[in-house]
């Protein structure tokens, strides 16, 4: 599914990224991603600390499936992207992107009155890998009547 225009711009804003995966036995797992970016027209990449979220990385390797919800903290505007996924090792530029993302999230949350220590606890870069999500479906996830509706 093509990711372009407003949605592509939204995904690379200072938005939170929460990740949903499952193991082969259907046990769900949660993680937090860093630095979303549209790299090809239907593919979004994000960085993940394998130290902090080991099960998320293992599930993507094992099932090749990933769901990611991107949310703007100020107004809860949210989109969930679902599709097939793969893992690659992070390069220097991925690490730089992750650090810049953390700095921007720190500023964003500070503007909302949150102490910087919170963001540092949630967003870490140790042992980074890159999750590569080939998007098959996008859902509106903003709280409200349209929550859960598919974007076509």
């Amino acid at each position: 599914m093509l990711i372009e225009g407003d949605l592509a711009r939204f995904l690379s804003e200072p938005v939170t990224i929460i990740l949903g995966t499952a193991d082969a036995g259907g046990r769900p797992e949660i993680g937090r991603g860093l630095a979303g970016a549209v790299v090809v027209e239907d593919t979004v990449e994000m960085v993940l600390s394998r130290t902090q979220w080991p099960a998320t990385a293992a599930n993507v390797v094992g099932t090749r499936r990933l769901s990611a919800t991107f949310t703007r903290p100020a107004d809860y505007v949210s989109y969930q992207l679902k599709g097939s996924a793969s893992v690659r090792l992070a390069e220097a530029e991925d690490r730089d992107r992750a650090e810049r993302y953390i700095a921007s999230m720190r500023a964003t949350f500070a503007g909302l009155g949150l102490a910087p220590g919170f963001v540092d606890a949630w967003l870490q870069t140790e042992d980074p890998v890159v999750l590569r999500l080939a998007v098959e479906a996008v859902f509106v996830q903003t709280p409200g009547l349209r929550a859960g509706a598919a974007l076509t």
Partner: protein, 443 residues
């Protein structure tokens, strides 16, 4: 690392930082969304206030396993909960509890009618693990302990009158519970409002300000007899922005605005109940996120009820006191004349064009001024006011002392030429700097 218990991670269940839930569809596709509220039910169960929209609900009916990520609202520490969906409740004690919690946060943002809870979804907790983090731990101040509560309760026990009870309660809130500001409002059953009688920590006292029963956090706490608490910084901030500005002068509105502090992120309203009746509401706020956790809520609940009982007792004792007539010498008013205007439709009283008070306290003030003007009397007792038939105050039976306290404090603050001085338990003196010219305006 020790395995965390639900009780030990209580600060995750205050709704400060959104929680996250992940579920899995039969084809293995996961779904991950934010949640508004996770509630701790007992040592092994949590409940979600979310009326499940679409995918999460469908997934849970097919596969009851879910993962929850909850965040400590004071430190940012994250915990992962493996949970099993047990079913939904649409009535009963747990449903009521969650519905009230939801109503507490939406009452403050004016969404009480929008956010209606349809069901509470109950989950058994299988495992709790702390999410690893190398970030330096944010340390949060210790929660209030029983020793601090005992200290305030002991001082409440020593408070000899309503004034002292209010001072001890407010000081306890600011010192022992760490509130930045707090205010006590007493119930006026005749008008269905709560009236502010004492505050600490605000830029102005707000004495005489009113909160209608059922409106906002304070009015809701009064009406339901339950605690209302808000720990969501952005909601409070938006509300604060909306409420700021546009204050009309008291003289036009005949109302006194409730005081506030800028940048409050935590607020709590606790009912003061004694002998099965509402005495008032105590409200506290702070600029610290999640300043009022479960421990503070329990502490405040104990202190508010203890203070309510002490106020009721002070009322009874003041009503029984018999004044010593030899201690009282009439003195005719003298000096300059000052104007007192009494509007009978709401008993509002203006002195030299400045709004003073309305309601029962206004009626009391005019009654005392007339007696003083006509007879020169200065010394009065609660007992005789209770018996005064022309005051048409049947409801004064229970709260004369606190009405007088409100009137005395409001007069002190407005500094018109009239003051009330407490001369003993259940007795007081009217001090007039001049001769009142009283005019009653009929509606």
């Amino acid at each position: 690392m020790t395995v965390p218990t639900l009780e030990a991670i209580d600060d995750c269940f205050e709704g400060v930082i959104p929680s996250i839930i992940a579920t899995v569809a039969p084809d293995g596709t996961s779904n991950v969304v934010y949640l508004s509220h996770v509630v701790r039910v007992d040592p092994t169960h949590v409940a979600l206030s979310n009326q499940f929209f679409g995918k999460t609900g469908a997934n849970l009916r097919a596969n009851p396993r879910a993962a929850l990520l909850v965040v400590d609202g004071r430190t940012g520490a994250q915990y992962r909960l493996s949970v099993i969906y047990m079913g939904s409740e649409t009535a009963g004690a747990l449903f009521e509890r969650v519905a009230l919690q939801l109503a507490a946060s939406s009452a403050q943002v004016g969404m009480a009618k929008v956010m209606r809870l349809r069901a509470v979804d109950v989950f058994r907790v299988e495992e709790i693990t702390a999410v690893p983090s190398r970030a330096p731990t944010v340390t949060a101040p210790a929660r209030v302990g029983l020793d601090a509560v005992a200290h305030v309760v002991a001082r409440l026990g020593e408070a000899a009158d309503a004034d002292a009870v209010l001072e001890v309660l407010l000081e306890g809130l600011l010192v022992e519970l760490g509130a930045l500001a707090a205010i006590v409002l007493l119930h006026d059953p005749s008008r269905g409002v709560l009236t502010a009688v004492a505050s600490r920590g605000y830029p102005r006292s707000g004495i005489g300000a009113e909160a209608p029963l059922g409106e906002g956090m304070i009015g809701s706490a009064g009406e339901t007899g339950r605690t209302f608490k808000i720990n969501d910084m952005s909601r409070v901030r938006r509300l604060g922005a909306a409420a700021a500005g546009g204050e009309l002068p008291e003289e036009r509105t005949r109302t006194i605005a409730l005081p506030g502090i800028e940048g409050a992120v935590s607020q709590i309203a606790v009912p003061m109940v004694a002998a099965g009746g509402l005495v008032g509401v105590v409200f506290a706020e702070s600029r610290i996120a999640l300043a009022f956790g479960q421990a503070e809520e329990s502490a405040l609940s104990i202190l508010a009820r203890q203070a309510a009982t002490a106020l009721r007792l002070a009322e009874v004792l003041a009503g029984e006191a018999v004044p010593d007539p030899s201690a009282s010498t009439p003195a005719a008013p003298q000096g300059r004349r000052f104007r007192v205007v009494h509007h009978s439709f709401d008993d509002s009283v203006f002195i030299d064009e400045a709004y003073v008070i309305k309601g029962v306290a206004g009626r009391l003030l005019v009654h005392l001024l007339r007696l003083h003007r006509d007879t020169g009397r200065r010394d009065f007792s609660n007992r005789e006011l209770r018996l005064a038939t022309d005051l048409r105050l049947p409801e004064l039976k229970d709260n004369l002392e606190t009405r007088l306290l409100l009137l005395r404090r409001r007069l002190e603050e407005k500094a018109p030429p009239v003051r009330l001085l407490r001369t003993g338990r259940g007795t007081f003196r009217l001090v007039c700097d001049g001769i009142p010219e009283i005019r009653t305006v009929e509606a």
